[in-house]
C-alpha cells in the first residue's frame, strides 16, 4: 500500500472515531442530573423563564434529536451557542485555541529538546551520577504538583528577580499583534514586530516550563529504557567493532533505533498536554481552552464542553496520524 492510500484510509477512519467521540461526550455530558437552563436562568427565575431558555436551546427536545441537531450543525462548522454567554462557541474556540496551542507547542518543543538528550545521556551513563541526577529530575517533574511549581517559579523569576512576567500573554495594556495564527510569538514575528515578539516569548517562558515538565520526564524515561535495550543489541556491538566513534554509535545507530517508541510517547504526550493545560492556564491567567472547558463544565454548558472535546479529539487523532507517518521516515523498514 502506498503512502497516499494509507493516508486516505486513515482519514476515512477519522470519521467513525470522531463520531464515536461525539456520542460518548454527548451522552456523558447529558446524563448528569443538572439542568443547564435552570442554572443559566438563576435562582429567582420563574418557571416560564426557565422553559423559554430550554426551548431556545432545544433542551426540551428528545436527547437523540438534540444529538442529530448538534452533529448536523457540526458538519457545517457550527459548534453551537453557549447557553451562559450566548456567544458562538466557534468564535470562542477560535479566540482561545491559539493561546493553548501556542503554549502546548512550545512546551512540547522544550520537552523534546531537553528530554531527548537527557534520555540518551541517562542511558549512556547508566547508574552513574548523570543518570542519578536525571532520574531525580524526572521523578520530580512527574510528582511535583503543577500549581506548586508554577507558583514557585512566579515567586522566584517574576516577583523576586523580576526577570520574567508573572502572568498573561502580554502586558495588559499592550495591543496584541495583528491576528494571523492567533499565536502571539508567531504573529509578532510575521508582523515584523520585534518588541512584541520578545514580550510574548517572555510571557510564554514560565507557563511553558511548567507544562513541559511532565512530557519531558516521560520522554527522558522512555528513551532511556529503549536506549538501554538497543545498546545491548548486536548491531550496536558491530558498529563499535567497526571502529565508529562512540558519538556516531550512540546518535547514528542506537538513538535512531530507540526513538520509535519514544516518538509514540511524544505524540501521545502532545495530546495529553493539550488536554491538561487547565492548571497552568489558571495560574498564569492564560486565556486558553482548558480554562474555558472547566468554566463550561462547572455551568454544564453543553456546547462549549462538546466543542473543546471535539477540538482536542481532532488534534489528538491527527497527531497520531502524523506520528504513524513519521515512523516510516525514521525507520525505512516501515512502509505503508
Amino acid at each position: 500500500m502506498g503512502l497516499g492510500r494509507y493516508l486516505l484510509r486513515r482519514i476515512v477512519l477519522l470519521v467513525p472515531t470522531l463520531l464515536g467521540l461525539s456520542i460518548l461526550t454527548f451522552v456523558i455530558s447529558h446524563i448528569v442530573p443538572a439542568d443547564p437552563a435552570k442554572l443559566a436562568a438563576g435562582p429567582r427565575a420563574t418557571s416560564e423563564m426557565v422553559e423559554s431558555i430550554r426551548k431556545d436551546y432545544g433542551l426540551d427536545q428528545p436527547l437523540i434529536r438534540q444529538y442529530f441537531t448538534y452533529i448536523s450543525d457540526l458538519f457545517r462548522g457550527d459548534f453551537g451557542t453557549s447557553i451562559m454567554t450566548q456567544r458562538s462557541v466557534s468564535s470562542d474556540l477560535a479566540a482561545r485555541f491559539p493561546a493553548t496551542a501556542e503554549l502546548v507547542l512550545y512546551a512540547m518543543v522544550l520537552a523534546i529538546v531537553v528530554g531527548v538528550p537527557l534520555g540518551i545521556l541517562s542511558a549512556v551513563y547508566q547508574n552513574r551520577w548523570p543518570d542519578q541526577v536525571i532520574r531525580i529530575l524526572a521523578i520530580s517533574s512527574v510528582s511535583l504538583p503543577q500549581f506548586w511549581i508554577g507558583i514557585l517559579l512566579q515567586l522566584t523569576f517574576a516577583s523576586s528577580l523580576g526577570w520574567l512576567p508573572l502572568s498573561k500573554r502580554l502586558p495588559t495594556l499592550e495591543v496584541p499583534p495583528d491576528k494571523i495564527t492567533g499565536m502571539y510569538v508567531t504573529d509578532s514575528l510575521l508582523n515584523g514586530d520585534v518588541h512584541l515578539f520578545l514580550m510574548s516569548l517572555k510571557h510564554l517562558a514560565l507557563p511553558t516550563i511548567v507544562l513541559a515538565m511532565l512530557p519531558m520526564a516521560i520522554i527522558m524515561r522512555t528513551l532511556r529504557g529503549d536506549m538501554l535495550n538497543v545498546m545491548n543489541q548486536d548491531f550496536v556491538r558491530v558498529a563499535r567493532a567497526k571502529g565508529l566513534s562512540e558519538v556516531k554509535v550512540i546518535l547514528g545507530h542506537a538513538a535512531r533505533n530507540a526513538f520509535i517508541p519514544s516518538l509514540t510517547m511524544i505524540g501521545l504526550s502532545f495530546g495529553w498536554t493539550l488536554g491538561g493545560t487547565v492548571l497552568v492556564e489558571v495560574i498564569f491567567d492564560w486565556p486558553g481552552i482548558g480554562n474555558y472547558a472547566v468554566e463550561a463544565a462547572g455551568r454544564l454548558d453543553f456546547a462549549p464542553i462538546m466543542g473543546v472535546t471535539m477540538l482536542i479529539g481532532v488534534v489528538f487523532v491527527v497527531l497520531n496520524l502524523v506520528v504513524d507517518i513519521l515512523y516510516g521516515v525514521i525507520d525505512p523498514r516501515i512502509s505503508y
Binding site: D35, A41, M49, R96, L300
Partner: protein, 545 residues
C-alpha cells in the same frame, strides 16, 4: 485553589527585598527595580504608558460573559453594566443608600402601586442623544419581552403597558400590586439608547447578539477592547452628562485572573491596581504589604448552612436547634482569617431591621438538651454535609461540624460536589442535602430580597430555597412586608419573621463576609458599596502620581 505554605514564607522574604520595596513605592507598578532587568526595561515602557494614560488595572476571578442589560445578571456583569449604563436610581455607600441618578426625583402613591419619576434633562447617551422617558419605557419593555436576567424583578409586578411616558422627561410605572422595594429594583433597570439597539437588531433579536459585548448606554464609560475570557477595557467618556468630579481615569481594564496567589503577587509588585476574589489568607498577607490597602468593609453577603427541613433529621426543629448550639462560631471566624462578622439571623447586621444579638452561642450542653427532645433522633444519626468542590472555607465548615457533632453522637459525612450537580439536587426535598453551606449576595439591601428568596414557599427547590422550608405564617409575613409601603410597619413585620426563622433554626446563620476591593495606595477615591456589582465604581477613582 489555595496557596501552599512554602509560598507564604517565600512571599514574606520577597516582600522585604530591596527590589520589592522599590517596586512598591513606584507609581502604577512601574518601578526602578524593573529597569534593572531585561524584562524590567521592556516592561517599563508599557508601565509608563499606564501611568501617563491613567488606566487602572483590575483583576477579578470571574469572566464577563454577556453584558446585555436584559440578559446578563451576576456580579461581574453588573459591574460592567453599572459603568456603561445609568439607572433611575443607584446604590451608593455602605450601608448602601439609594441616590437619584437619571431621575431627579420620584413620587409614589399611598399603596405603592404608582411610581412617577422625573428625569434629569441633562442626561445624554454616549452618542450625545438625550435620555428620554421613551428610552426608559423601551428598556423595561425589552426586559419583559426577553424575559431573562433581571426580568424576575419586574415580571410579576408590572406589565408592558403599565409603563408610560406622559412627557419627554416623565416616566410612570403602574404596578399590578403594591411593591415596597420598587425603588431598589429601578437601580437594576439599565436604560438603553433605542436608536442604537434598533440599528443593531438582527432577525428580530432586539439587539441581543450585538449587546452581548457592545453597549448602548449613557454611563460614564464606553467599551474600547473586548477579549472574552481575557480582558475588557473601558474608556472614560469625557463628555459624561453628570460630569467628573476630580482627576478621573482615562479608563480601566478588567482582566480575568482566577488564581488568588497570582493576583496577590501582581498587587504586591504593582502590576495591577485593584483585585477581588482573593482568599482570606491572601488578603491577610496583603494587609502587611506596604503600598497595598486592604479595606475591611462589612458586606451584605451572608454565609449560612441550608438545612433540609422536609426530610431526615434536619426536618426536626430540635435537631436544627441542637446543630445551632453545637456549631463552633469562633472557629468559623478563624477560618475566615478575621474577614467575617458573626450574624444573628438571616439578615446581615447592616440591613435595617436585622436582628443584632445571636440567639445561639456554642454550647454543647444546650445542644444535648435540645437533641434529647427529639423523639426520633435523640440517640444520634449519620448526616451528610455537601459543599461546592474547591471552596476551602466550605470544606473547613464541614470539618468544624464533624468535630463538634461527634460529641452528640452525630456522624458527619463531608461530600464535595460540583455546583451544577448540587443545584439539581435541591429541586427535590428527597435528594436535597441535609446540610449545604451557601453564600447569599443581594441585589438590593432590603429584607425582602433576602427572606423571600430563601423562606417563601414559592422559592423552595431553588438553590436559595434549598431548605424547602414551608410555613404559611412566614409566607403571610413576607407578602405583607413586600406590599406594605410604611417603613416602620415593614420593620415590625420583618422582625416578627426573623424571630420565627431564628427560633425554628431554619438555617445555621454563620457570618457576613468583610470585603472591599484590595488596592494599591495610588488608587484615590475608592468607595465601597456592598450591593452586587457596586463594590467598585471607577467613576469616583483616580490614580495619584
Amino acid at each position: 485553589m489555595r496557596v501552599p505554605d512554602p509560598q507564604t514564607a517565600l512571599s514574606h522574604r520577597f516582600t522585604m527585598s530591596r527590589r520589592s520595596l522599590l517596586r512598591t513605592s513606584a507609581v502604577v507598578g512601574a518601578g526602578a527595580a524593573m529597569a534593572t532587568s531585561p524584562y524590567g526595561r521592556a516592561a517599563l515602557a508599557s508601565m509608563a504608558a499606564q501611568k501617563s494614560s491613567g488606566i487602572a488595572i483590575f483583576s477579578s476571578a470571574v469572566d464577563i460573559p454577556n453584558i446585555d442589560p436584559a440578559v446578563g445578571h451576576d456580579g461581574s456583569i453588573a459591574m460592567a453594566q453599572k459603568h456603561l449604563y445609568d439607572t433611575l436610581y443607584r446604590h451608593q455607600g455602605n450601608p448602601p443608600e439609594l441616590v437619584p441618578w437619571l431621575a431627579k426625583d420620584h413620587s409614589v402613591n399611598d399603596d405603592a402601586t404608582e411610581w412617577t419619576f422625573n428625569l434629569d434633562e441633562r442626561a445624554t447617551f454616549a452618542d450625545g442623544s438625550p435620555v428620554t422617558a421613551e428610552a426608559v419605557v423601551y428598556s423595561l419593555q425589552r426586559v419583559l419581552e426577553i424575559n431573562r436576567g433581571i426580568a424576575w424583578m419586574f415580571a410579576d409586578i408590572v406589565d408592558a403597558d403599565g409603563i408610560t411616558a406622559p412627557d419627554e422627561h416623565t416616566v410612570k410605572f403602574v404596578l399590578n400590586k403594591p411593591y415596597a422595594p420598587f425603588l431598589h429594583a429601578t437601580a437594576w433597570l439599565f436604560i438603553l439608547n433605542p436608536a442604537i439597539v434598533d440599528e443593531n437588531e438582527k432577525d428580530g433579536d432586539r439587539g441581543q447578539e450585538w449587546l452581548t459585548n457592545n453597549a448602548a448606554g449613557s454611563g460614564p464609560f464606553t467599551i474600547s477592547r473586548w477579549e472574552p475570557g481575557n480582558l475588557y477595557q473601558f474608556d472614560a467618556n469625557p463628555d459624561y452628562w453628570r460630569g467628573w468630579e476630580s482627576d478621573y481615569l482615562e479608563g480601566f481594564v478588567y482582566q480575568v485572573s482566577e488564581e488568588s496567589s497570582t493576583k496577590r503577587l501582581a498587587l504586591q509588585q504593582g502590576d495591577i491596581q485593584l483585585a477581588e476574589w482573593l482568599s482570606p489568607q491572601d488578603r491577610q498577607l496583603l494587609s502587611q504589604v506596604e503600598g497595598v490597602v486592604v479595606p475591611q468593609e462589612p458586606s451584605i453577603t451572608t454565609y449560612t448552612i441550608k438545612l433540609n427541613s422536609k426530610v431526615g433529621p434536619t426536618s426536626d426543629v430540635h435537631v436544627r436547634r441542637a446543630l445551632s448550639y453545637a456549631f463552633d462560631y469562633e472557629a468559623m471566624l478563624q477560618v475566615m482569617s478575621g474577614f467575617a462578622t458573626r450574624i444573628a439571623g438571616p439578615l446581615p447586621l447592616s440591613i435595617t431591621g436585622a436582628v443584632q444579638e445571636p440567639a445561639y452561642e456554642t454550647n454543647l450542653d444546650k445542644a444535648r438538651e435540645e437533641l434529647a427532645k427529639s423523639e426520633e433522633w435523640a440517640d444520634g444519626f449519620d448526616i451528610e454535609f455537601v459543599y461546592v468542590a474547591g471552596l476551602d472555607e466550605e470544606r473547613q465548615t464541614g470539618q468544624i461540624l464533624l468535630d463538634q457533632l461527634r460529641e452528640l453522637n452525630i456522624n458527619v459525612k463531608i461530600t464535595p460536589m460540583e455546583w451544577a450537580n448540587a443545584v439539581a439536587l435541591f429541586e427535590d426535598p428527597e435528594t436535597s442535602p441535609a446540610m449545604f453551606p451557601i453564600y447569599s449576595g443581594s441585589d438590593f439591601p432590603d429584607p425582602d430580597n433576602y427572606l423571600w428568596q430563601s423562606f417563601h414557599s414559592s422559592s423552595a427547590g431553588t438553590w436559595t430555597g434549598a431548605d424547602h422550608y414551608v410555613n404559611p405564617d412566614i409566607d403571610k409575613l413576607l407578602e405583607d412586608g413586600r406590599s406594605n409601603p410604611n417603613e416602620d410597619e415593614r420593620i415590625a413585620i420583618y422582625d416578627e419573621a426573623q424571630t420565627i426563622l431564628i427560633d425554628e433554626a431554619v438555617e445555621l446563620y454563620l457570618f457576613a463576609s468583610i470585603e472591599g476591593m484590595v488596592h494599591r495606595d495610588s488608587v484615590q477615591g475608592y468607595q465601597y458599596c456592598p450591593v452586587m456589582g457596586s463594590d467598585v465604581s471607577f467613576y469616583t477613582i483616580s490614580l495619584s502620581e
